[in-house]
Structure formats: C-alpha cells, structure tokens
Point group: C2
Chain length 758, copies 2
C-alpha cells in the first residue's frame, strides 16, 4: 500500500500542495484546496475540464502578419470544493495551536486523497474532522467528496457550489498569464432538495459547462438541510449533532462533448443514483488494482523510489486526457501555468510511457492531434506555406496560442515530434488501419513543411530560421534536433508511402489511394522528401568532437555572468541568453535519445559530456533526458542523481513553481527514466531493444510492455528475466544480441554492469 | 523662384498632401489640413512639437526581461488650423462643382504655403479665398496663418483653438500605432480680446504645452470679433463684409524647454508684438535667401530635378530638430508614423547632409545623443551588460521604445551609427573641445558594448545575435554591416584614446583625464578594442565572390513566393521572410558606402550586383543607398533611376503611406544622392574625396561644403571647379589624385565619364 503523505500543515506550502494533492482523471481536475478554507495564505482554488477553452484577445507590442490575434485559455469551472465546518457556530480552520494530528495523503490504491485533524474549539472542545475526495477513473464526469465530523455539539456544514471563478495571474512570470480573467460566467443555476446545479458559459467561444452536485447526508441523528441560491452560487447548509457525514457527488459536463451538458449531467447523475462516496471508492479501488497490476512499475530495494514512481504514474493517470477532445496540458489538470495549453511535452515525454503499456490512451492522444490537423493546415497557410500542416506550438482547440514566435512558432520541430509519436505507435501496434485512416495523413502533411522551410544549398539540405527544444537559443540555422527529427519525418513519409502503395490488403490500399488523392501527394514530392532526408545537415564539429547544436552555436562564448540567477529567463534579456553557449534543456542530447540510429555512439557520448556542462536545466524537461542518456553511456551514478532531481521537481518544488501545477513532462520523463533510462528500452523497425542497468541504490525493477500482439514482463535484478505474458513470439535485442521469445521460452540472462555498448 | 505646386484638389490625396504641405521649423510642425475643413475624406489634423512626449503602457503578448514596459509617444498638440469660412452663413468647402481655380503651393523662397480658390455660393455668388501659413525659421515658437476672403456679402470667420486632440491609429499597419490616444489634455484655457490661450498637460509624463494665438484683423470695413470658451476649445468669430483678412499668430511652448510654458509663450508674443503675417514673411524670406545661397544645391539642365532637390532640402529645414532636446523623427514633424520616434535614420541619412554644410545643426543632433547617454547606459545594464551604453533603437526621451526586439534592440548597430556620426563631425570640424567634452564619451561607451556582445572563437572576433539594417533577416551571427561598423567604432575608440592621451593642449588633456577616470576606461580595455577590431569577421563568399550579409545568409533560398505582394511585411509572417535571401533595404551595400576602406572595390561591386537583385526596397531607406552606390560603380543610368525613385517616394506616394508623414531618411538620402552619389563625396582622415559624375539627364550641379575651417564651392559640369570661398587651404582627392586648394588656387579639371576607380 503506497501513499504520498503530508504530516504537518504548512501555510507556506499551501499553493504547492494544492497542485500535489489535486484529484483528477484526465477529464476533470480539482486542485487540493481545503474544503473549510484557510486561515491565511494564498490559494488557487481551481477546477478544470480538459479541452474546455475560452478565447482571449492577444495584444502584441508590435503587429506582424501571422501573429495570433487571440488565444485559447483554460477557464476555471464551477468550484465545488467548499464545505465550511461550523462547530457550535465556530468555523473550524487550521489556525495555529487550534488543531492536532493533522494528516493528509494520496492513497494510490484507493484512488483518493484523505485529510484529517482534530480541532480544538474556543471552549476547548475537541472535534474530529476528515475530508476525502476522489475523481473517478471509471466515471470520468464524477468528482466526489466526503466530509465527516465528530463533535460533541452542533455541527453545521456549509457546502457551496461557486460560479464566481477567476483565473490566476502573475504580472512578472512569463509562464503565467498576466491578467485575471473571468472566462466562464453563470448562465443558470438552481436547486431541488439534495440536488444543486449550475450552468456556465464561456464569454467568447460560446461553450457551456454544467455542474450538478448531489448532497448525501449520513447522520445517526436528526439533521436539517437548506439550500439558498445567491447570484452566482448555491449554498447548502446542513446541521446536526455529534456525528455528521456528508457525501457530495459532483457531475461535470461540457458542450464540447455533450450537446446539452445540463441534461447529460442529469442523466449521468441518474445513472449513478445508487452510488455514494463509498461505492464510488470501491469501483475506484478495483480500477486501480488492475492498473497497478498491468502498468505499475516495481522498484526493488528502495521503498522511497518505489513510492516516487507510484506518485508519477498516479499523476499521469490523473492528468492525461482520455478522449480525442483533449490532450495533456503542460500542468495537466492541476494548475493554471501555461494557461492549460498542450505542447510537444505530450509526444516526447508522456506518450512514450503510454504507448508501451496503455496503447488505447496513447492512441487517444494521437486522435486529438488528428482532430486538429485542419487547424494545423490553416496555420501553415497563415505562415505562408503552400501546403502541409504546421502544428501549433501551444494550443487547446488547435489554433496557435503563442505570444512570442521565436520560442514557439519557430519550433517547427513539433511537427516532427507529432509525426514521431504516430510512427512509434505504429511500430508498437502495427495498426495499419489507424495509419491509413489518420496516421499517414499527419506524417505526410507534417513532412511537407520541411520541404518548404528547408532548401538545398549545393548538395546539402539546410533548415533555416527555426528554434530547437533549447529555448535559450532561438531562430538559428540547422538546429541539430530539428534537422534530425525532420530527417526522420521525411524518411518515414517516404517509407510509409512506398509501403502502403504496395500493401496487399484491398481495403487499406483503397483508403490509401483516396488519401493520396485528397492531399494531392505526388511521387515526385515523396522522392524529394527522401532526397532531403538523405542530405540534411547534421552538424558535427571536428575540433571539439561533438555534434553542434546549430550552425553558429559552438562559436559563441561560454556563459560568464555567474550562476546565482536561475532560471536565466527571469533575470536576463533573451538576446543576452541567446548570445551564449548555454542551454535551458537538452537539444542534441534529446535527439540522440529519440534517434540514435542517425548518430555515432562515441560522438554522442562526447556530445553528452559537452552539453551537460552548459545546461542549466531551467526547463523542467531537461533532467529526465540527461538522466536517461546518462544510463545510455553507463554513467549510472549520474543517471540516478538525475532521477532524484526529476523526482524532486514537484515533490520538493525545486523549480519553485509547482504552485502553478505539476510538471507533467517531467513526470512522464521520470517514468521514462526507468523504462528508457535504466532498462534502456528503444525500438527499431522490428525489434525491442533493451540495455538494462541497475543503479546501486536499487536491487532491480520490473515493468510490463505491450508490443505488437504481445505483453511481456521485464524483470531486472542481477538477472534479466523476460516473460511473455500474452501473445506468440517477440524479438528482443538485449545488449546487442537478439533473442526470440516465444511462449514458454522465457529469457533469463545476467545483468551486465558498466557501459552498455551493443 | 521654386515652388511645389498642386493645381487640383483631390480628396483621395488629402491625407498624403497634409504631410507634403506641412509647415514646420524643426521645433513645431503643422500638417497641411484645410483651415475651412473638408467636405469629405479622412484627415489627420495634427500639430506636433519636436521632443515632446507622453508615456504609454506597452503590452507584450509574452513577458520577458528587459522588454520595455512603457514607451514614448509624440502627442498631438492644440490644433490652431481651423478657421471656418461662412459666406452669408454658408460654409465654404471644396464640394464638387462649387469651386474654381484651386491652387496650392509651397514657396521655397518665401517659406510659406499658399492655397487659394474661388468659391461659388448657393446663390451663385463668387468668393475669393486665400489661405497662407508659415512656421518661422527665425522665431521657432511661431506658426502664423493668414486667411483672406473677398466676397460681396457677409463674411464670417470662425477661428478655433482646439484642445480635443487624439493621436491617429491603424489597427493593421505595424508602422502605425494601434490605438487612438488622447495624450495631451486641457488644463487651462482663456481669452482676452485678441488673445486666446490653451495650456495642456500630458497624462503620464507631467509635461505641459502652451499655445497662445493672437488674432489680427485687417478689414477696410467694420468688423465684429467675439470669443467664446468651450470645455476644450476657444472659438473666435469675426464678421465683416466684402473683404476680410485675418492673421493668426500662434506661439507654442513646452515645459521641456521652458520652466513656465504659458508665461514664456506670453513673453515671446510680447516680443513679437509688432509682427503680423507679412512682417514674419519678410523675416522668413531673408532667412531663406541666406539658406539657399549657402546650402542650396543647384542642378543644371533639369528644372524638375532642381525643384525636387529644393523640396528635399526645404523639408529637411522644416523637420530636423534645432536644439539638443530634440532630433529627427522618422516622419519629422509631418505625421504620426512611428509615433514620433527617432531612429538611426538621423545619423546615417540626415546628419551627413548637415555636417557637410550646416555644422551647427549637425552638432545639435549630436548634443541630443549626448543628452540621452545616461539613458543608454541604463539600457545597457537592463540588457545585462556590465558597462557601456546601448542606445535605444527608437526613442524620444532616451528610453527604448521598441515592441519587437529582434528588429530593434537586436539592431545594436545603432551604437556604431551614432559613434560614426560623432567621428565624422570630428573629421569635418576638428572640434577637439566638443570631442573631449562629449564625443569621446559616446564613442568609448558605445564601443564597450561590442566587447560584451562579441567574442573570440579562435583568432576570429564574432558578433552573435544581432540584426543588421536589413530587417528582413533577424538575429544572426556576424552581420556584415554590424561587424564593419563595430570594427570602425572599436578602431576609432582606440585611435582617439591614444591621440587624446598624448594631446598637448593642457585643458583638453585634463578634461580627457577626468573623462577616462569617470568612465573607468583602462588601457587594457582599449587594447582589447583594437584587437577585436583587427580580427572581426567580415564574411566573404569565395564561390559567389560577394561579401556575405551574415553567417548563413547565402545558404538560404532565393525568394520564390511571387513579387505581387509588397511590402512583404504586410503579407508574410516574419519567419517566412527571414528564411529567404530577400532584403528590405541595403545592408552590405550600405556598409560599403560608409566604410569603403575596409573592403575591396571589385568585391564591393560584385556584392552590389548580387544584393541589388534581391532587394525589395520595402524600406524607404533603400533606394538612395543603392543609387549612391550605383554612382560609385559608374552605373549612372541606374543611379539616376534610383534618384527618381527617391524623389517620387513622397511626392508620388509610391509607398502609399506618405499620409503618415514624410520619409525623412529618404529625403536626406535624396540630397546625399547628389553629394555622395553623383559627386562621390567621401572623407578620409585628412582629405575630402570626390569622384564626380553627371547623369546624362543633367548638365551638372553645384553645392558648397564646410570642411575644417574652409568653405568650398563644388561646381561640376564638363569641368570640375573647386572654389575656396573661405579659409586657407584644403586637400581634396579627385579621382584618386590629391589637389591642394588654397586661396586663389582654384581647381578646374575635366569631368571623367565611366566608372570612377581611384
């Protein structure tokens, strides 16, 4: 039984812990604000629905063609958290010296957060308070609260559904919006005995969101319940004595997914009419039993790290979108940083976790990208391209929502990142139907852009005016990561075109023909893609023996302005940062994680050492990549340290902005640190590749992979055991040697220590 | 007698002609709006004071360190233009078919604009109307109007001083503000018989501006005069019969220059108490007689071009700042484009005209730059530099006012452009006192920045992350123009340091010592400057045989998106534009105009041909440079065509935005097309250089140059005559041969045709 536990209440960690103790299920998320309110300190008292957005005007200091005039913004939805507790009329709150035995935890097995304490009233009487909440993993629309109070006196609970919700703002931090906005406004509200409802509307997008709350009172004693409707909220007052338990079952819907959200919310509530908190919890438990069994990573010999990995996997479960209307916000559903936008974080940091073990969830993320393909096509035209699709750097609904194009729109690599995810999904699933229906279209349309933003100069194909993952350098020529990913995108477009051109399945063949006609793709263009891919420049510096991040990067000076001011972006003008060899996050090193086949091992390792020295990790997307690649080169102590850095990022708030939400990419990356890092999982065309290593702080680890039709269990201690749990046979390359694993022919080979050359 | 004349009234050219027919004197400018108003069409009814500014919040779509949070904006001052004419109660306006014999002209000799027409009333009676106005070149605070009406009936003039003034906006054009602003607001107003006054205050900078108007009525008949005060304006109604003449003498002051602007305006008006329009015109005429005699460029054998050059010189006279509080706005005092900001246009396009012939005015422009040196020092710190000065790309008061740093703050070359102007002034004037008091400080402080934004990689000094003059490419490494200008800035800092270190004049020596101590400049730093200057990279491409605009420029593709959409900046996303070999304006070619000694002639000529082909001239700063450099290489037909393009820019509104104001840099550049272009004037350390040529459309030209203690007259026809008008002796290199010209030893040599190699 694993928990994340908080044993003391600390007002200074209040905001951070609202993120950590969020409950969510990929559809709805509720931050961990206190039901009874705080005596002091800030709160971002937010609940969010994945994919729901309003549009807000974007003002530019200087106009230019193709800059977004408006952007998507995730609204706060109605707040259902509040339940003020009165004890003989005195509000119970965590004022110093008035409480004891405070405790809060996330229960990864039950799928709830539980908080309890003893409160001492003015008249020195003791009350026992317990607050529980869950977001159902089975009924996505449901969040439930349970409030239990034991007190020898009058207990009154004031439960509130509040429609007066405003987004959070910080005028100084560029990662946070500058202005508070009331995006959803109350359109209708009402109550009927134990049911209250609130219908809200966005200001500009005309989307609506419904919230229905059912109050279920459990009391051995008599109780009174009374609703009162205010302008933007409904208050329910319940009074009783000695022992009062209130279940609040909340149903959330929205008009992206439901034609009539209020009606659908009603239907859902009706369907759940026999459920209360305890029964929902039972369903939750069952769900999680399966989840941990199928997907849980085990760490042997290190309880702390085992708990941390649970935390990470649990937060992914809570925050990753579950339908094609949504994706994964940079902060999931746990906060308002980056305004709820989806980035490449999904494809590079989160998707790889899911695709290896939860293919349906992975596929759903791709479906979302397919759904916004038309938006990406429009964006390509806006940018002056003649065809193809240019995926937005940040978005909810599909439009480009970036305010500063040199570190957003110029990051064309997102096109290849998305294509990469589709291709990896294909390697895992062999799902030719999905590919011909959706995947190929995305891969072809993204690949087309490279032919338009790249060009041959002599025999060499260059890409100019792009920004790589490292945002501390912008608008450069031949960014290594971009060129490598473009090479991949172009090459796979070419290969898939030829493969599907000759595929023998008639239905698929016909669908492919229709697709090619629809997007008007010629063999000439496809051959040009191959040519560009073959001749794209991947810069290598002979003197330093490292791959160069871009055409001028290695000519720049090393940072000499001190190391006390971090993150640099909060202290230095962008031009100052751009002028140095200083990285926010992995760039060349990340390219080598994704596409090692395009580079040479020794040069990759040299490059790793070079870039590691000049990387600030000011981005939360950095530690995990450096950690994974440290494993790749056998630097196990380093790999483990990076793993701990990744683990600490939110748990110890090392970037000091967990208040704005969990860092979902880092969370995905932490899980990848085991799978791709220590276990060294990679894919080639027809083979799983493993290069297992075990840090000395562990005795080993265990996880399962769904690959093609098989499920395999990988267990690494001093031995590497591979068990085929489902399916017929599978080829795995371990330390460079291929093994055929079939039913009853499990693999058991010794762990190699030291650098994992194939 | 030369005039610029408009023979028909065209409502569609109304806005453009308000710019063309502005009256100004470098301190105050009044657009040429009609006194009696328009029957239809847009108007930007503006008057402006040079250097006056308010501050406006700058909103960025995404925050970053060092982006301006507010910017300077030139306000409209009180409008004094309005004088509605009633004829038997009917307002006279230029409605179709109701007027005859319309005529308007700028009189370059009298220094006024005159407009007249005959108006036919409803009852078919004819009135004769004449409107004259001038901005005094002698009394800078004064603008005067004269309105004369002859009509057989009742004539009423409603003269207005209007304080309800709002700036112009265009939501689409990036060169124009997006939002109308009322920056100056009325604080006090009043009248006393023939005098009316208005005191206005800026909203944020707490600057004030006073306007006093004196009405002088000349009528053979009786007349009545009556003032009435409204909330934000004062109206004066004058009625008479048959023949009514009204002089409006307006005095403008501001609190930048006057402690009590209203009192000072009163004093000035008192001082002028005997002046009316005619006497002011007489003073104006005398001033212009001297001006044209001393500074007028003569073109032989082409009346049109002679007129055009007059237009250009006259507009410079009207729009160039006359005191150290002000400079030259991109649009002078003729409109609101670029919000009244000063750019490098001053130093590179306008200053060279003045320094050769009106040294005091040139010096005043430098004094302004010295006055904002502390602002530039602050800006350097904001940008993360440890010392030195970083001049703002655009400003009024000295703060950086740019909204988009890749095409502004990144244009570090403005530092060298300003240093260049100081140095050129020194070459012309040998003014060591000014240099030790102001010039050296600017040259040293600007040079310091190059050592901080540049770095050695091996033996080569690079400058990264800058933008050159060509804004269709941004944030590059080793921009040719920037590196060349930086080389100059560094070299001159070194040379001047050594020269002044050993200067024998004790006063100057002491001042120099104090300066070096004040700015804490070490010999080590100075030697580093020399080293950087000697080793800075000036890129040359061996294959193409041209100097490369930056480190990746020549690898990019040529523009292939058609030529129908111009200017590109209004049709394409910046990244699209940046990705091509396409220029907005001269970059490498401009470097060769300013610093030919750093390059080789043949390579320069090749480069010219190469870049000319790929330049859009979407910037108004481009034609003149290509024209001047066409002369340099002997392409006279081309040079003449560019001259005509420059001439046409405002006169024929070829960029379709003369409505926003005259293009002052182009105007300066047109004058330079004669002096630096056809005459080939350059400076070396101790010599004037000439390479005269005459386009076949002309018979020759004549102008005067003040050089060191001398004034010389240069007369070019088939002969080149150099007359020393003042001073002792002077060395001039003509076609590569040095001539010593002393009193009574004038030069007379034949014109060479063809390419002017030295």
């Amino acid at each position: 039984m694993y928990r994340y536990e908080e044993k003391n209440y600390d007002p200074l960690s209040q905001l951070k812990n609202e993120s950590i103790f969020m409950v969510g299920n990929g559809y709805v998320g509720v931050r961990g604000a206190f039901e009874e309110g705080y005596p002091s300190g800030d709160s971002i008292r937010g609940s969010y629905i994945n994919g729901l957005y309003d549009r807000v005007e974007m003002i530019h200091a200087e106009k230019a063609v193709g800059l977004p005039k408006e952007y998507d913004k995730q609204p706060k939805i109605a707040d259902t958290q509040t339940c003020i507790v009165y004890l003989d009329g005195e509000p119970a709150q965590l004022v110093n010296t008035k409480y004891k035995n405070y405790n809060r935890y996330i229960d990864y097995d039950n799928g709830e957060t539980v908080r309890s304490y003893e409160f001492i009233t003015r008249s020195n009487k003791k009350a026992y308070l317990k607050f529980r909440r869950l977001a159902s993993f089975v009924y996505y629309n449901v969040v439930a609260y349970k409030i239990e109070v034991i007190y020898d006196g009058e207990i009154a609970l004031l439960s509130v559904i509040d429609g007066d919700v405003t987004t959070y703002a910080d005028p100084n931090d560029p990662r946070i919006s500058s202005e508070q906005k009331q995006l959803l406004k109350v359109k209708d509200l009402g109550e009927n005995a134990d049911i209250s409802y609130l219908l809200m509307n966005t200001s500009n997008t005309n989307l609506s969101q419904a919230t229905i709350v059912k109050h279920i009172v459990l009391s051995e004693n008599e109780y009174a319940i009374e609703n009162s409707i205010k302008e933007t909220k409904i208050e329910t007052m319940i009074t009783s004595n000695f022992h009062l338990t209130l279940d609040k079952v909340c149903v959330f819907t929205d008009s992206l997914r439901y034609a009539d959200p209020l009606r659908s919310a009603n239907d859902i509530l009706e369907h759940l009419s026999y459920e209360n908190y305890e029964t929902l919890l039972e369903i939750q438990k069952n769900y999680l039993r399966d989840f941990w069994h199928n997907s849980g990573i085990k760490i042997y010999g290190n309880e702390n790290d085992q708990k941390s990995i649970r935390f990470m996997q649990y937060q992914l479960l809570q925050n990753v979108g579950i339908d094609p209307y949504s994706n994964v916000s940079a902060k999931g559903l746990s906060g308002e940083g980056y305004e709820g936008h989806y980035f490449w974080d999904t494809e590079i940091y989160i998707f790889p976790v899911l695709v290896a073990n939860q293919p349906q969830r992975a596929k759903s993320l791709l479906e979302y990208r397919y759904n916004i393909l038309d938006s990406a096509r429009n964006r390509a035209l806006e940018l002056g391209h003649r065809k193809g699709a240019a995926y937005p750097w940040r978005t909810i609904s599909g439009i480009e929502c970036s305010g500063y194009f040199p570190a957003s729109t110029a990051q064309y690599h997102i096109n290849a990142d998305i294509a990469y995810a589709f291709y990896i999904y294909y390697l895992y699933s062999e799902d030719t139907v999905f590919m011909v229906e959706k995947g190929l279209e995305v891969i072809f349309e993204t690949a087309r852009i490279w032919l338009q933003i790249g060009n041959f100069s002599g025999d060499v194909f260059h890409i100019h005016e792009v920004t790589g993952p490292d945002e501390y350098t912008a608008i450069v020529s031949d960014n290594y990561y971009t060129n490598m990913m473009a090479k991949f995108n172009l090459e796979k477009a070419y290969e898939l075109y030829n493969y599907f051109s000759e595929i023998e399945n008639e239905t698929i063949s016909e669908k492919f023909r229709v697709l090619i006609e629809k997007i008007n793709l010629s063999e000439e263009e496809i051959n040009l893609m191959k040519n560009a891919s073959d001749n794209i420049l991947l810069l290598y510096d002979n003197n330093l023996g490292v791959y160069s991040q871009d055409s001028t990067f290695l000519e720049k000076p090393l940072w000499d302005l001190g190391s006390d001011k971090r993150p640099l972006l909060l202290y230095y003008h962008p031009l100052t940062i751009y002028r140095y060899q200083i990285l926010k996050q992995a760039d060349v090193v990340l390219a080598h994680l994704l596409l090692e086949e395009y580079a040479e091992l020794e040069k990759m390792e040299n490059s790793y050492k070079y870039y590691e020295n000049i990387t600030t990790h000011d981005s939360s997307l950095s530690y995990c990549i450096y950690g994974i690649m440290a494993s790749r080169y056998g630097f196990l102590e380093k790999a483990y340290n990076y793993f701990i850095q990744s683990v600490s990022l939110d748990i110890h708030d090392t970037h000091q902005n967990t208040k704005d939400g969990l860092h979902l990419a880092n969370i995905g990356g932490t899980v990848l640190s085991v799978i791709q890092g220590f276990a060294g999982l990679r894919l080639s065309e027809n083979t799983l590749i493993l290069r297992p290593s075990v840090p000395q702080q562990w005795q080993g680890y265990n996880f399962k992979i769904n690959y093609k039709d098989c499920i395999i269990e990988i267990d690494v201690t001093n031995q590497i055991n591979i068990n085929l749990l489902e399916g017929n046979e599978i080829t795995i390359k371990i330390y460079g040697q291929e093994y055929l694993i079939s039913n009853g022919n499990n693999i058991n080979i010794p762990l190699q220590r030291g650098m994992c050359h194939d």
